[in-house]
Amino acid sequence: MHHDETFPVSRRGVIAGGVASATLAAAPVARAQTQGTAQSTPPTMPVTLKVNGRTTKLNVDTRTTLLDALRENLKLTGTKKGCDHGECGACTVIVEGRRINSCLTLAVMHEGEEITTIEGLGTPEKLHAMQAAFVKHDGYQCGYCTPGQICSAVATLGEIKAGIPSHVTGDIAAQPTVSTDELRERMSGNICRCGAYANIIDAIHDVAGTERTA
């Protein structure tokens, strides 16, 4: 999916324009500081990222998080930056089949790994079942946490299926099931400031073919 083709005048474009003019104004100061302290150019590294089935070679500042590489280098702005410290889950993506916080990992640490973002799960024309369920159950209000919630929810059902236990699993040695308690516990790394939690749980239950129990 190409964001720019779908939305010719994007909100992001307008914001980026604003930032660019602010940067221009600040540039002479930044140059002066650089000269004064004789700082060298920050180290960069080549890295090949495989995102949503597409391979891209990048040369990034080593400090670039996977989140920033997705948003700033690959222009995949579906993945959101919330707290940038692993607390809110807005940046959740799926790497090698596992959901992670893309803000707490470096792009250079993911050479050749399979990365799936919200753009890779479905498209506006062909929604992923979890995206469709979030729409059906009104699992969001402002939508900012939603890409992270959906990536996390898809991976959560995979984790239950794979037999990974959680804090609320009764018998730690048994196969966990899709219960409301399990979903609430497993989704605790995704914060929704609008408080759409009840509907998010309904959406996940819908995809799993189970029902909310409390």
Binding site: G86, R98, L106, I172
Partner: protein, 316 residues
């Protein structure tokens, strides 16, 4: 974040050599705690050695009947391992009570042991902290310290170790295996791995500079009922106010280790003799020498009640 150079290590010995050779070098595995701290410039490594390619991600049986857990085994995979769930349930329980699903998928066994305290003053670079900046003082002792330590504290630091996993490792008497730049290996009992703060709270473990953790070994299973009881301010994704890792044998004897009490997983082996005498006697022996503040004195009765809850659960 301060700029740094980056390399991918291909052997444990080479990683340890690079760490000794390169000024300001740090290992990075899961990175979930290190990058968090680097963004705040609390950690400012000049060079990162990525150890994710070292192949230390297997759980294998030991000749003594235990398990050797590779340093890079992710918290999720350790918690989900069938052998761990069956024979070391307290460890699975502790792991899944910590952090979030996303963090557990990335965080490693060795990295979990090495994570830094979440004391608010360690994170606040505008405040003194002897752990972050040795000699600057401790803002926590006279500050907001409701969640901080009551055992083994010093005038320099009252921080707690945040790990749940390490508390279970302590109750199971795990051993930390390491390698250094010369290729020499070492086995450190978990009891000696983390240090009390003393006058140098900035030194948190007994690792030498450049020494790399390669595995954590669990002794053969000891049976019993395995319980991890974590008390916290919200039901999920929060650090412990206190936690109890317990292995309880028929007749009420067993082992107990505690999180949220000290600068390291807290265990008083001598106090375990009191377990058959009940929660009050046990808590009193565990908490001998406690030093509380006006904000965290609630942890004393909370320890006794949580031990009581654990003993009750063990009967069912």
């Amino acid at each position: 974040m301060k700029a740094f150079t980056y390399e991918r290590a291909t052997s444990a010995k080479e990683a340890a050599s690079a760490a000794v050779r390169t000024p300001g070098a740090k290992f990075i595995a899961g990175g979930t705690n290190l990058l968090d701290l680097m963004k705040l410039q609390i950690e400012t490594p000049q060079h990162l050695i990525d150890v994710n390619g070292l192949g230390l991600d297997k759980i294998t049986p030991t000749s003594e009947g235990g398990l050797r857990v590779g340093a890079l085994v992710r918290n999720t995979d350790l918690a989900a391992d069938a052998r761990v769930r069956k024979d070391y349930g307290v460890l699975s329980r502790a792991l899944v009570s910590g952090a979030s699903g996303q963090l557990r998928n990335k965080a490693t066994t060795a990295g979990n042991l090495l994570q830094r305290t979440r004391c608010p003053y360690f994170y606040d670079t505008t405040k003194p902290c002897n752990k972050r900046q040795p000699g600057s003082g401790c803002a926590a002792i006279g500050g907001f310290n409701r969640n901080l330590a009551i055992m083994g504290t010093s005038e320099a630091c009252i921080a707690t170790h945040p790990s749940d996993m390490a508390v279970a490792m302590r109750v199971l008497d795990a051993t930390v295996e390491t390698v250094n730049a010369a290729g020499e290996t070492r086995a450190i009992p978990i009891a000696d791995f983390h240090r009390l703060p003393g006058a140098t709270p900035n030194i948190e473990t007994s690792l030498a500079p450049g020494e790399l953790i390669t595995a954590v070994t669990l002794p053969k299973p000891i049976g019993g009922t395995h319980i991890y009881q974590k008390v916290r301010d919200r039901a999920s994704y929060a650090f412990a106010l206190i936690s109890v890792a317990a292995v309880i044998q028929p007749g009420g004897r067993g082992r107990l280790a505690f999180g949220g009490l000290a600068h390291k997983p807290w265990r008083v082996e001598a106090a375990e003799a009191q377990m058959p005498n009940g929660a009050k006697a046990t808590a009193s022996a565990v908490l001998a020498g406690a030093r509380t503040t006006s904000q965290n004195a609630f942890k004393l009765p909370l320890v006794e009640r949580t031990i009581g809850a654990v003993f009750e659960e063990a009967k069912h």
